[in-house]
């Protein structure tokens, strides 16, 4: 059954979109990441223009991250204050990123830049996971998946963890995270996250989560929830900007992807509790490297078309 995408102005098999949503949702439940980093490359393999894939995903990720964040909210795994400060940074990053996106689109290099960024990001993350150079990361992350909970805090906090710049002028206390840190650090991380959303259509969780653990020194149990919480606002903001400046949000595609993914997230989550974390990590790294490999292969092989054409109806 083909479905016509009114903004992309092409038709695509609806079951493919639902299936892609299912796969990505499943992966996201299984590995505890947003899964957006798989979706853009897969959509472009299906023939969608990368610009539409990126813009649409911003919109769709808002829904996916809301459903994920709701589960974390119930377990009180979200540091709201930290989330909002990250959001301040990510709005800046998104605003700048969408303008860069627009500029790259005008000079005809957006598709190449998207692909190159993906290659860099996927290779780095895939290799890192494959060689387990960050061994503690996912083991700790898995505590969140298995429903880890912070000890109840009743009012008095003994001592705050002293993060980067804790004695400087911009130090801010985060009582939920039990942390004092220079506010510029989370804002800076937010900016990076916002750039990723605007340029690549990913939530950026797979970059932000390790950064929040190692640089920000947040308790790992709060990191996934807080990252997702922040991603809701960032992707929401990015989707509005993308639609206004780049006309690259296709609502029909977003809905089909979402329906597929919300169904399969809990299935992935359930399997995650049966799968050994190392196995899951290895599988995911292989998957990421396969996608990166295909992108690299396409960069170097002679394209089927030696011309790129952009038409505007008169």
């Amino acid at each position: 059954m083909d479905i016509y995408l009114p903004v992309a102005e092409m038709s695509i098999n609806a079951f493919w979109l639902l299936g892609l949503g299912l796969v990505v949702g499943f992966l996201s439940g299984l590995f505890g990441v947003g899964g957006g980093f798989m979706l853009t490359p897969l959509l472009t393999f299906m023939g969608l223009p990368p610009t539409i894939a990126v813009g649409t995903q911003a919109s769709q990720l808002a829904g996916t991250s809301l459903s994920g964040a709701m589960a974390h909210w119930r377990r009180r795994n979200i540091d709201v204050r930290m989330g909002f400060i990250l959001t301040v940074g990510s709005f800046l990053g998104t605003g700048v990123g969408v303008q860069i996106f627009k500029w790259l689109k005008q000079i005809g290099q957006i598709n190449l830049v998207i692909v190159l960024c993906y290659v860099a990001l996927l290779s780095a993350v895939g290799l890192m996971m494959f060689f387990e150079s960050a061994p503690g990361l996912l083991r700790r992350g898995s505590r969140v998946r298995s429903g880890g909970r912070l000890p109840a805090r009743d009012g008095v906090v003994p001592t705050l963890t002293q993060g980067w710049g804790a004695d400087g002028a911009f130090a801010v206390d985060f009582h939920v995270s039990n942390l004092r840190v220079n506010v510029l650090l989370p804002i800076g991380l937010g900016i990076i996250g916002g750039l990723l959303v605007a340029l690549l259509g990913v939530g950026g969780g797979f970059v932000l989560v390790p950064a929040m653990i190692y640089l920000l020194k947040m308790p790992p149990a709060l990191v996934n929830g807080t990252s997702l919480f922040q991603i809701i606002f960032t992707t929401a903001f990015a989707s509005v900007l993308q639609a206004v400046s780049n006309h690259s949000v296709d609502v029909v595609m977003a809905v089909f992807l979402l329906i597929g993914s919300v169904v399969s997230v809990p299935m992935g989550t359930r399997l995650a509790s049966h799968l050994r974390p190392e196995v899951a990590r290895l599988l995911m790294s292989l998957l990421i490297l396969a996608v990166a490999g295909k992108l690299i292969f396409d960069l170097f092989t002679t394209p089927g078309q030696l011309f790129a054409v952009e038409t505007r109806l008169l």
């Binding site: 829904g63 993308q242 790129a308 038409t311």
Partner: protein, 240 residues
Amino acid sequence: MIRKLGLAFLLCVALSSQPTWAAKKVVAANLTDNFVGVSEGFDGAKLTVFGVLKNKADAIVVIEGPLAEAKVRAKTKQIGIWVNGNPTTIESVPSFYAVVSSKPIDQIVDAKTALAYGLDVDHLAVSKTEAGAGYVNVKRAQGLFRYQPDGVKILESNLFRADIFLPPSVPIGTFRAHIYEVSSGKLSATRDETFYVAQVGMTAWVSKTAREKPAFYALLALVLSLGIGGGAAYLLRRMS
């Protein structure tokens, strides 16, 4: 100015010297539809042109989509990677072009006539430049420039019927159908018809809103997205 006038004059001479055009005979032909609606389940459409020919004549139908401005970038290899080069702009070129005929074009008309009337998709006037040839190649690969030498069926009593496939990615706008009757190598009669391809129903509303009220459109998409995401999370919790 004088040079322009001179050019215009030459063009007039060139056109009027086309021997067959002056005949101005009209093919008795028509389209089955003047309107093609693109809606949610659109997976392409078939347009049929039918009519009557002179005895032993052949027919060629050219479908020309709305004009577009095209930016064509040649891909070049830089440090091993294929990169888009600087754009060449073609100011006005059909976004869709289909030629269907009852026999291969080179068996019906000579190359000069084919070029003058744009009957040979592989040798169009636009293809003379490198960018133009690149444009045609890309459009052919996308199925938006098509050539079907057996697309016109000549039935008994000189009735003909041409089926033209409009793919799902067909551009939106006004299309022109040029119908040519060819007998013994000459264009003996012609007819122009117009039809429209437009988005209809919800699809039309969505794309119009996305273009004209992008902020409202984005908010709507967002509400849908958050509604589905939040709703699903709520339902799943209730179920488990």
